[in-house]
């Protein structure tokens, strides 16, 4: 009977759909978990970046740089009289010769 065959076909299709909804849901949840892990990783990296930045700026504080330059490298600030600024390739500002 053609009607019965159609019903069977529709029934099979309905069951197929239902099963694929279940698998899709499962897959979605698995992917979501992966997303969550990646997001957590991104946040951890963000945190680490902040800590590294903090570390960098702590090592590079002017106070520390100055101390090392003066004590370890025996450098000193030249007197203002011995520093002359010149501009190369720019005409801005008037440079007077000493």
């Amino acid at each position: 009977m053609p009607v019965d065959r159609l019903s069977l076909l529709l029934l099979a299709a309905a069951i197929g759909c239902a099963l694929s909804v279940v698998t899709a849901q499962h897959k979605a949840r698995k992917l979501f978990m992966v997303l969550q892990q990646e997001q957590a990783r991104a946040q951890d990296m963000d945190v680490e970046w902040g800590q590294l930045q903090l570390e960098l700026s702590t090592w590079a504080t002017p106070a520390r740089v100055e101390r090392i330059a003066a004590q370890k490298l025996h450098m000193q600030m030249p007197a203002a009289e011995s520093v002359h600024h010149i501009r190369i390739g720019q005409t801005e500002g008037v440079v007077t010769q000493p």
Partner: protein
């Protein structure tokens, strides 16, 4: 066959018809019951059941957001939040051996007795053991594996530069909300708000689905200040040396970009370590450069001269008689510390004569003088947005007595904050245009307001150059290779309405004078040594900071390198 069929038919017909009807109605009733139950569950009782269901697998979790970074104009972090862990316990669930407690106390650097007593406090369900622990220590706590001891992530603010910009940046409380300074001013921008969301968790505790976001987390935005970290350090260290050398009570310094009005450095000494505020008094926390007002003294004189020039009453060469070094107005007498004879307007500034300035101020109608001072930004906050900024005091001209108008000419009877004073000098640096100050980095120079003509501004600048020449009050402010224009100030402090023999020494100057790039204002409060004049105490701070700052910024020289002329005699002392 016939009989059989008749027999059967009689058997069937023997069934009474009510039986089938009963069966039918029973089935109908059953169906109806089922239907009614379905309606009850699906429609009427639905909300309650849904809620119960959600409770089984749905969870509301917090989404942490952290406070934005505050950086200097070159992107160097000045304040940054990083996560720390707080250790808390649920005493009722704690099950720890003596050894574990001892090890826990060792990691937390707390006395073992105290840890034990907190663990034993079973009346409470939640006790913090220690807040804000660095991550590596927190990990050790977890590795002990004591039941009932757990961690809670929090954010802590760090200030890599420590005390250098402490009062400017301010600080946050334990919940990472701004309490003082820029942290407070920028709270709405850098402040973060944690969000929350509803999720579905499986039985292993994994989040498998995000149902809805209840509140979106709002992470704080990063903010770039106008401060230059290197200039800030330079200004702070130079200031701290001067304050210690002169045994002063405190000192403040402001460095402004003369072209944009941006604050490049703003420091106070003494200071405190914002990373560990133990023992920091309210006195130390205050940003004196912005929050404290003081009588500026002679650093006001250029504005008096500009007002007189602008009104067309004097020219730079106009002679003013200051013979005798005093002047009597009513019951009061104004003194000059070093009486001179007849001075030009330029010399009045150079030698900082009170009598000369007072005469110029008295030649102006009060209204005009008030209008000019008010236009220069005195008497109202600078608009920097710094919390608690003191606007300074400029009284209404209608209430002025002549003596007050005279003393205001040299900065008595008027009060300012240091930032306001530095900002007012942008008018001289910018050919008459007063710029708004900004603590945030600007992308383009702001629109200024014209307060005097370009000619007046240049004339005053030329006069201010004489101040640092021999014969002026601040030869120590000279800088090799650059022309400097500036003004000293030495004012008696007011205590309980009376002037006392304690002083505020100040210097405000700009360089290169031919086309000013920076303005530096220095204030030293109550120098206790033998020196207390602005030209002796504040001017050297100015010249050190300005000279190195100009080098750092690569500003071309506008004078020969041997331009510094050492004063031959004693430095001219200004009037106090």
């Amino acid at each position: 066959m016939n009989y059989t069929s008749s027999k059967q038919s009689t058997g069937l017909t023997a069934l009474p018809p009510w039986r089938s009807r009963l069966l039918f109605s029973l089935m109908l009733a059953g169906l109806f019951l089922l239907f009614a139950r379905a309606v009850y569950l699906q429609c009427i009782h639905n909300a309650f059941l849904q809620e119960k269901g959600n409770e089984r697998y749905g969870r509301t979790i917090g989404v942490a957001a952290h406070r934005g970074m505050i950086s200097d104009r070159n992107g160097k972090p000045l304040a940054i939040s990083t996560p720390v862990e707080s250790v808390w316990v649920s005493p009722q669930e704690v099950d720890a051996s003596h050894g574990q407690v001892a090890r826990l106390a060792h990691i937390l650097r707390m006395p073992a007795g105290e840890v034990a007593s907190r663990l034993a406090d079973t009346a409470r369900e939640f006790v913090y053991l220690k807040r804000q622990l660095p991550p590596d220590q927190a990990e050790k706590v977890v590795r002990l594996g004591i039941a009932g001891v757990a961690l809670q992530r929090e954010y802590r603010r760090y200030y890599p530069d420590g005390e250098v910009a402490a009062q400017l940046l301010g600080f946050t409380n334990v919940d990472d909300r701004g309490q003082e300074g820029m942290e407070l001013a920028l709270q709405s921008r850098v402040g973060a708000e944690d969000g929350s969301q509803r999720v579905i968790k499986d039985k292993r505790g994994h989040v498998v689905e995000e149902v809805e976001s209840l509140r979106l987390p709002k992470p704080g935005a990063d903010v770039t200040l106008s401060i230059d970290n290197k200039l800030q350090y330079l200004a702070y260290t130079t200031l701290s040396q001067a304050v210690r050398q002169h045994h002063a009570k405190s000192g403040s310094i402001v460095v402004l970009d003369a072209k944009t009005g941006e604050v490049l450095a703003l420091g106070n000494y003494p200071s405190y370590n914002p990373n560990n505020r133990d023992g920091a008094t309210a006195e130390l926390l205050r940003n004196r450069a912005v929050v404290d007002q003081f009588e500026p003294g002679s650093t006001m004189k250029p504005f008096t001269v500009a007002a007189a020039l602008e009104a067309g009453l004097v020219k730079p060469g106009t002679l003013i008689d200051t013979t005798g070094g005093q002047m009597t107005i009513g019951r009061y007498t104004i003194h000059d510390a070093h009486p001179d004879g007849v001075l030009t307007v330029a010399q009045v500034l150079q030698k900082s004569s009170n009598v000369g300035a007072a005469k110029m101020a008295l030649s102006l109608p009060p209204r005009v003088f008030w209008d000019d001072l008010s236009a220069d930004g005195f008497g109202e906050p600078t608009g920097s947005g710094f919390p608690g900024e003191a606007g300074g005091k400029l009284r209404d001209y209608k209430t002025w007595r002549p003596i007050e108008q005279a003393t205001m000419a040299y900065g008595n009877g008027i009060s300012v904050n240091l930032l306001q004073l530095a900002r007012a000098y942008t008018a001289f640096a910018n050919d008459g245009m007063l710029l708004p100050v900004s603590l945030l980095k600007l992308n383009a120079p702001p629109q200024g307001t014209r307060v005097f003509s370009a000619a007046t501004a240049r004339e005053v600048r030329d006069m201010l150059e004489l101040v640092v020449k021999p014969g002026g009050t601040a030869p120590l402010a000279q800088i090799s290779g650059y022309r400097v224009a500036g003004k000293t100030g030495t004012a008696h402090k007011l205590e309980n309405g009376r002037y006392v023999d304690h002083y505020v020494a100040s210097f405000v100057g700009m360089a290169p004078a031919s086309n000013p790039r920076l303005i530096v204002a220095v204030k030293i409060d109550d120098p206790q040594g033998t020196q207390y004049y602005g030209g002796q105490v504040a001017a050297p701070v100015f010249s050190t900071v300005m000279s190195q700052a100009l080098h750092m910024l690569g500003v071309p020289n506008d004078a020969p390198l041997d331009n510094v002329i050492k004063p031959t005699g004693e430095i001219v002392k200004e009037d106090t």
